[in-house]
Point group: C2
């Protein structure tokens, strides 16, 4: 470590008063003579004194750190949510410690344990796509250590969470496709154990039902959210004897992989195959055709997650709330078939 910084002791020595006097003066304790107070504060200022957070943390048993675990750092979705969390954290004078599970259960487990070791005051987590067993959160739940899930969630009766209106969003997507002339709507979903897969699937079914479209199981595929797998699955869909005229992709990666694959087959978007994804603003507008997409209020989701966290800090035993965020379907070109 670099040179030791000035401590209360240093200030006290310099002024020939006791440490406690300095401590009090700096916090404007009324007991201390106004003049002395001023003098001490001036010296502190001059010497560039800042309280040592480690000492405070040790004393009060609080670190003012929140651990955040996301499936990856490089996706805009998570980056933006993290921004939202950071925003609220900063307002509460908290810092965030970010860990990435890289979509691996093992790394998620490891991160939970490591962050707890560093004595974060709690965790805000989005599950990795592999996570299918949720016991590793027991130590948090049993010890009343604040925990909040977002987007990909579990144990929602025990843990507060922030999710998108997945079912409703997927239902809207399906209906939008129908209204634009699509009749064979495919859905490329994620791992079946994830709530986002389940809920969007449910919305897809409701949408089909609304439009009185038949359900065809060969149009629903599960993918592991990697580009390769999404490409493979798109190719499979395009090789059906009766290919889909629309594809609904569960996220960024999936829909862009599908887009590339469709183009390579020589089919046109949206006329041969219309496309809608769950994705962010930026990507959707730089591709050609621009992508119709369900947009999450990511920054807001992060803020809400952090808010839930601080609710938890002040009352770790309150009944867990779930916040559902409204998404919006932003219609661009990839879903608008030119009617003949």
């Amino acid at each position: 470590m670099a040179k030791r910084r000035v401590s209360l002791k240093d200030l006290a020595a310099e002024l020939n008063v006791s440490i406690s006097t300095v401590s009090r003066a700096l916090r404007n304790h009324p007991d201390i003579r106004a003049e002395l107070t001023r003098e001490i504060q001036e010296l502190a200022r001059a010497r560039n004194y800042t309280p040592n957070p480690l000492a405070m943390g040790l004393l009060r048993q609080e670190t003012h750190m929140i651990g955040v675990i996301v499936p990856d750092l490089v996706t805009h979705f998570y980056a933006s949510i993290i921004s939202g969390i950071e925003y609220v954290a900063k307002q509460n004078d908290y810092y965030i410690l970010i860990a990435s599970s890289r979509e691996s259960f093992g790394k998620e487990l490891e991160s939970v344990q490591n962050l707890l070791k560093t004595r974060v005051e709690g965790l805000i987590v989005c599950l990795s796509q592999e996570t299918n067993c949720f016991d590793h959160f027991d130590p948090l739940i049993n010890n009343e250590i604040p925990l909040v899930f977002f987007d990909r969630v579990c144990r929602t009766d025990e843990v507060p969470s922030v999710v998108a209106d997945n079912t409703e969003a997927a239902r809207k997507v399906t209906r939008h496709f129908y209204e634009n002339g699509c009749r064979r709507i495919a859905f490329i979903s994620g791992p079946p154990h994830l709530n986002i897969s389940q809920q969007r699937y449910e919305g897809y079914l409701l949408g089909l039902h609304d439009c009185k479209l038949p359900f065809d199981e060969e149009l629903v595929m599960h993918c592991d959210l990697s580009t390769d797998d999404a490409s493979r699955i798109t190719r499979q869909l395009l090789q059906l004897k009766n290919i889909p005229d629309a594809i609904f992709g569960i996220n960024d990666t999936v829909i862009f992989a599908a887009m590339k694959e469709i183009r390579q087959t020589g089919l046109t978007i949206p006329n041969d195959v219309a496309l809608i994804g769950f994705t962010g603003e930026f990507h959707s507008t730089i591709v050609e055709p621009s992508l119709t997409a369900v947009t999450h209020p990511t920054f807001e989701m992060g803020k809400e997650a952090a808010n839930l966290f601080f609710e938890r800090i002040s009352d770790p035993t309150a009944a867990p709330r779930q916040i559902e965020m409204k998404t919006s379907l932003v219609v661009r070109n990839s879903s608008m078939k030119k009617m003949l």
Copy 2:
């Protein structure tokens, strides 16, 4: 804070030994009886003991935290570099505290001060685009607190840094344009005080010189790196009486804004205007035409920055090194004019 966790004291009390015995046993000190050691370690395990990092930090004056300041969190470039930093940090049993300057000098200043207050052991920083005055790093430099810059750097004679081979990369870009038939090559740069603007500009000039192309000052524009400004500037370029037949954009944002703008004007890429950007893998391939781009080894840059940081930790006064990373020009379609 949640329930207090078990401490050495708790373990000691339970076994009727002293705290120091427990402490030693847990660290396998040879002085302690093998049997006692085993017994203590078993209990620690059973009670789920983990050492309190605050206490350790206080004792050793080290927090094992690195502050990282980036211009933004949502750009792939920074996200990926952060991943690299995190990777090395974890290997050294360090954590990173991330702050975003949101390209604002004020926020950068604030972040530097806040992070120092939390007693990070040092900082790894990429300057905000507004940063034109570098005094706020004095407290670090004067107190031998480890500091490393990456990408956008300053005071390189005092502070170790990691940069791309900006000049060389820009030179290659210019020559590549020339070899593909471009003769009026525009350069949309960033704020002129940034090293990346200066060095890429220099490379651009060298490239022109290599190809014996005349320099035309109306083809060089500075932008504030926002989408709006980049669009505005592209429009300006497209309104010249003699419009450019190629545009070289200093980063992601700029080049995609240019791309959109060109399309809206009805011009084609690459035949009317060829395009090359400094950008990441993913974006480049999802657009149509796919984007020829200078690619940074971002993850590696992060790793190198972290390595420099740890060099600094072990010897805060060593002469600062600068590491230059090789970029590569990945040729795709946006720069390949179909020769007539």
